[in-house]
Amino acid sequence: MDINCKHCNNLLEQKVKFCSQCGQSVVKTVTNTKIKNVNIIISFYIAMLVFMVIVYFIDLNFPFNLEADLIVETGFACIVLGFASLNFKPVLRLYNIKQLNLKLIGFAVLTPIITSFFVYFFIEYANYLFSDVEAANYYESYQYLDYPLFWSILFIAILPPIIEELAFRGVLFNQLLKVTNQKLTIIATAFLFALIHFSIFSFLWIFPFGLLLGYLRYKYNTLWLGIIIHFLHNFIILMLDYYSFYSF
């Protein structure tokens, strides 16, 4: 627990409130770094928010455009990597596979089967019931391309889990840990993860989904479990869309 005074670099041996050599308040310097970290969290979220607006307008003006889709994904990855580079080492450490074992991977494979079927049949039905709009078929929206299955898997099942897990369970999680404890960090990341999906009905299931992913990230210190669950969840929903597209 030894820390140095930020002002005069004097070694503080126990938890003290003031440096005994220069009289600077240790609490105050802690507070200042805290405010800085909170500002980074807010900026990161606002950056993603602004990005979502840009994505919406790109989608509106360039529908069915592969280049636009690729630029959008690259842009999101750039924002996330930019914020990750502020504190790169702890993020990099999350890509370890030390704690992974068969039991955990089994869990990570079984969970998305339950969540994806629940979401596909129950939530989409609720959405349909209340908003009268047929949910978009994820597979169908890539029909304009030569290999719709390949592109839809890439854009729905592979890229989002990798980037979103890094954004929420990596960058945001680490940043929140600097200002608060683990329990609150899990809740806050799940909340923001659900919020950025821009749908109030989806919020009700993405929030618990985010809590699960956040808990796994905290317990096993790895992003891989979240990526596997997130990937399979999206993949199964996409496959259900694929199936329903060809059966009707």
């Binding site: 003031f18 050599q21 240790v26 805290k34 909170v38 606002i46 919406y56 209340f130 909340f191 919020l195």
Partner: protein, 169 residues
């Protein structure tokens, strides 16, 4: 003979909070009192304490007004939902507004225990909803912009104060 023991206790204990100290310390590590400072240093120390006390009182007030802001938003959103429902029989809008209102109330209540995180999530929720409504209807971004800025300022000040009020303090 009477003076001697007094000097020794002074050297080892802080005059302000009686925390024991070793000889090398220039300041009390508990309260920041200048152990070897001049009279002027001591006067500065007390002046700073008064300021800090006022600041932390001020911080609590700001957190409280941020909490009130969350409740006010919750109230407005729910009333607005009922208003839409009565005029257009739109059940979806009513349900969505009630859900959002409940989330605001939960965050407001939660801010009594965890002001920093609750207010932070409240602010980000508010910004997200502004963006979502602006996407649906760009006009809403400009309407009532002064109120939006006031609300954001209140929540922002609350967050700032909540990060200064520290468990260590």
């Amino acid at each position: 003979m009477e003076e001697a023991p007094k000097i020794i206790t002074n050297a080892l204990e802080c005059k302000h909070c009686d925390t024991p100290h070793d000889e090398a310390s220039l300041f009390c590590h508990e309260c920041g009192y200048p152990l070897k400072g001049t009279e002027e240093d001591v006067a500065k120390f007390y002046a700073k304490r008064v300021m800090d006390k006022r600041k932390s009182k001020d911080a609590e007030k700001k957190i409280k007004s941020a909490r009130t802001t969350l409740y006010v938003i919750a109230g407005i959103i729910m009333v607005f939902g009922f208003f839409i429902f009565l005029s257009s029989k739109d059940v979806t809008a009513l349900i969505i507004n009630i859900i959002v209102g409940v989330i605001y109330i939960v965050l407001g209540t939660w801010s009594k225990q965890k002001p920093l995180i609750a207010l932070l999530l409240g602010l980000l929720l508010y910004l997200t909803i502004i963006v979502i409504t602006a996407i649906a209807e760009p006009k809403t971004l400009v309407s009532g912009i002064i109120w939006k800025i006031v609300i954001i300022a209140y929540l922002g000040k609350g967050i700032h104060s909540a990060s200064s009020v520290n468990k260590l303090a």
